[in-house]
Amino acid sequence: MSMYQTNEDKLLQAVLNDKQLMDIYGVDPDDYYTITDALEADVPIIKAIAIIIERHEQKVSEKEIYTEVSNQLIRQL
């Protein structure tokens, strides 16, 4: 586990600390310390959040991100 947290990692941690996410999906933020961890997650919502943060950081357009996340969710849900 990398000790250095990027801005994406910090964003991810902040979002995963949402109480509703933890309650509904049983998310433990400590399991996803970095974006890389979250991108490999089995929980669809965690992965979706990670994709949104990662792609936004990579300056991918909003439309493309939506398509990617939607397709990923459609596949997984």
Binding site: A14, P44, I45, I52, E62, V69, S70, L73
Partner: protein, 723 residues
């Protein structure tokens, strides 16, 4: 970024080359008014300005300019050397050339950066290097001019900027916006699928219609609620301002009342002390003010005349009496000379006498008196005597008439005497009274004028007090006047807005419950198509993602403010060692800006903390921001203050600089603190007792003497390291 050296050349009063080496902690630059403190600060501001070239002719040293011959040139330069991932240098300069006696041309503007790698010094763009090493947003919270600009949250966008840059998490706003859009898109997609699903399409249409209605209603309520909340916040701010300045307002009103009272008094005194002397000369007979001695002199002279007249009259009377006495004596002697008592000279009368002479008969004794006889002669003598007497009588009469003529026939002296009598007594008293009246009046006017001067002085003092009050409170008279009038109105308007906000919140709650129920119904619909069910789940997921981002963003702001508060309070405690300081609260307002407040531990808000406490409060927040920035960026940044402590007293200065000296933060303070007036010489002397306790670098900047206080080209600031 740690500043190491500053070079200033020909920048306004900094004539020629001037160098400063800075400590890693505090560097203190002490100078008196007009010695070039603000110029030093502005030289750095000029260097840090990347938006424009700003090669103003006013930046050129007047002294240097005045020395140049036509055709000669020199340069204005500000340079800093600093440590930021290695040693770097930024320099801004331009050349100025004297092209004619009255004309200076500016050319060759340069804004260069240099970085050192090994032993090589590489040139780069100054603005680029500066923005890399000392970002504009960080610079914004590093340079502060004066005590009144220390409150960073005066700027309503400060919280957003600070959270965006220094909370450690960037781009939250964009992500919240993006996930909100995703939620809407997915909702539309799911809804579209549901509407096409045979089993639930009618229910969906009905639910959508209801949802659209309730959403419209919610939107309308929210719009109105937002307006009311803004109004409440606005009125609260105004009421808070009034409450905060209650003491100021009370004092303001009290001073204004006192001024008005004194102005009324002044008007009365002005009326009482005004006197039309010209009119009063005649109308009030003031012209007679000096007539009393004239009356006295007149009286003396009139008395003298009168006395002389009486003396002469007495003398005349005596003369006449003497002459009359003499005549009487002669008559008596004649009488004694004859035996018989002669008839009076007028008996018989002239006609009888002539008849008797003509008749030659004495008709007194009846005897004849023929011509030539003694009796006839007697009668002739008697007639002559008669005629002589008549003649004498006639002569006497004219003599008597002459004798009876008054010695002073024109009665001038009597007139003078009468005037004297007339002027004496009551008239004299009256004239003496005029003098007294004038004297009393003048004394009265003098007293009123003295009172008027006193009242005018009191008015002036109160006006000065009022101006000081306005200056210290940073409020205008207009605001204070209006606030007093609007006080009641604000309360009532706030009350009305609050009441309406409660009603709207209740309605909103109901409508949102209805909406939530409708959405739940929508989500619980069992469509026929599996794909539609998937779209429903995708939307639910996007909705939760959006909420998670919104909550995370709000939590991030709360975390930042909490961290800022904690660190600020640590600095506040340090800066106010051995003094009361309270607790800093940074309150987020409804419009997403922030306010710094000071509270007592027992919960009460401290309204109007004293100047020094307020300054340390704002500086603590600045130190905290700087510390958080350092933490987040893993770089330190200097804090540069120009005269931040003008409200501090001597004792507070000592403590303040001693504490700042121990804080691990590069801090450059330009100040006139630690300059004391030597009671013996009246000159300002450095407070070496305090300076010697400091471990930091201390510089003294001052004007080179002699200088002409009306000629800028004689002004030169020099920098001397004193510690």
């Amino acid at each position: 970024m740690i500043l190491k050296d500053i070079k200033i050349k020909n920048f306004r009063s900094y004539y020629g080359d001037n160098n400063l080496s800075l400590s890693k902690g505090l560097t203190l630059i002490i100078g008196d008014n007009g010695d070039g403190k603000t110029t030093l600060f502005e030289a750095l501001e000029w260097l840090f300005k990347t938006a424009s070239e700003d090669k103003q002719i006013t930046h050129i040293s007047e002294k240097r300019k005045s020395e140049l011959e036509v055709g000669e040139s020199d340069e204005v330069l500000v340079n800093i050397t600093f440590e930021h991932d290695g040693e770097k240098e930024i320099e801004k300069c331009f050349t100025f050339e004297k092209v004619s006696e009255d004309n200076i041309r500016i050319k060759d503007f340069k804004f260069n950066g240099y970085y050192i790698e090994g032993v090589e010094r590489f040139l780069t763009r100054g603005d680029t290097l500066l923005n890399q090493c000392f970002e504009p947003v960080i610079r914004k919270y590093c340079l502060f001019k004066g005590e009144n600009n220390l409150n960073v949250f005066e700027n309503d966008t400060a919280l957003k900027t600070l959270v965006g840059h220094f909370s450690g998490i960037k781009q939250f706003d964009e992500l919240v916006e993006m996930t909100t859009n995703f939620e809407h898109k997915s909702a539309n997609a799911a809804n579209k699928e549901l509407q096409n699903d045979k089993r639930v399409s009618n229910q969906v249409k009905d639910l959508n219609r209801q949802l659209a209605e309730v959403s419209d209603a919610i939107q309308t309520i929210r719009t109105e609620l937002k307006e009311k909340e803004i109004s409440i916040s606005d009125f609260s701010d105004k009421i808070e301002l009034i409450e905060k300045n209650q003491e100021t307002q009370e004092r303001y009103q009290d001073i204004k009342d006192r001024i008005k009272e004194l102005q009324d008094k002044k008007a009365k005194l002005s009326a009482l002390s005004s006197c039309n002397y010209s009119t009063n000369l005649l109308d009030e007979s003031w012209i007679l003010r000096s007539f009393l001695p004239i009356i006295k002199e007149f009286s003396v002279k009139a008395s003298a005349f009168s006395k002389e007249k009486r003396r002469l009259e007495k003398q005349e009377t005596e003369r006449k009496a003497r002459e009359a006495g003499e005549r009487d004596a002669i008559s008596k002697i004649q009488k004694l000379a004859n035996d018989a008592i002669p008839l009076p000279w007028n008996i018989p009368d002239e006609a009888t006498m002539r008849e008797m002479i003509d008749d030659e008969t004495c008709k007194v004794c009846g005897r004849p008196a023929p011509k030539g006889s003694e009796a006839y002669e007697f009668m002739c003598r008697k007639l002559n005597e008669y005629l002589a007497n008549i003649s004498e009588q006639a002569g006497n009469h004219s003599l008597e008439e002459e004798d009876d003529e008054p010695l002073f026939p024109n009665a001038f002296i009597n007139e003078l005497h009468s005037r004297q009598i007339k002027l004496s007594g009551e008239t004299e008293q009256e004239i003496a009274g005029i003098a007294t009246a004038i004297s009393d009046r003048l004394e009265f006017i003098t007293q009123r004028k003295a009172e008027l001067d006193d009242v005018s002085k009191q008015i002036q003092d109160l006006t000065n007090e009022l101006n000081d009050l306005l200056m210290q409170s940073n409020l205008s008279a207009d605001i204070l006047d209006r606030n007093i009038k609007d006080w009641k109105g604000f309360f009532e308007a706030k009350g009305r807005a609050e009441k309406r906000a409660v009603e709207l919140n209740d309605s909103l709650k109901i409508k949102e419950e209805i909406k939530a129920n409708l959405q739940e119904k929508l989500s619980k619909l069992e469509p026929e198509s599996t794909m539609t069910k998937v779209y429903q789940r995708v939307h639910t997921t996007f909705e939760r993602i959006m909420k998670a981002f919104v909550n995370a963003k709000e939590q991030n702001v709360r975390n930042f403010l909490q961290m800022l508060e904690e660190v600020s309070n640590q600095y506040l405690a340090k800066l106010n060692k051995n003094d009361f300081y309270g607790v800093i609260h940074i309150r987020k307002t409804i419009d997403n800006s922030a306010r710094i407040e000071l509270h007592s531990l027992n919960g009460g808000k401290i309204e109007n903390p004293n100047g020094a406490l307020k300054t340390t409060m704002y500086m603590s927040v600045l130190f905290a921001i700087s510390q958080i920035t350092t933490l987040k960026r893993e770089q330190d940044y200097p804090l540069i203050f120009d005269a931040p402590t003008s409200s501090f007293g001597g004792f507070k200065e000592d403590t303040f600089y001693n504490v700042i000296d121990t804080i691990e933060k590069q801090c450059l303070i330009v100040t006139k603190d630690l300059l004391n007036i030597d009671k013996k010489t009246g000159e300002k002397e450095l407070d070496f007792d305090t300076i010697n306790k400091l471990s930091c670098a201390v510089y003294r900047i001052e004007k080179v003497e002699p200088f002409n206080d009306k000629d800028l080209s004689t002004i030169q600031t020099v920098i001397k390291r004193i510690k």
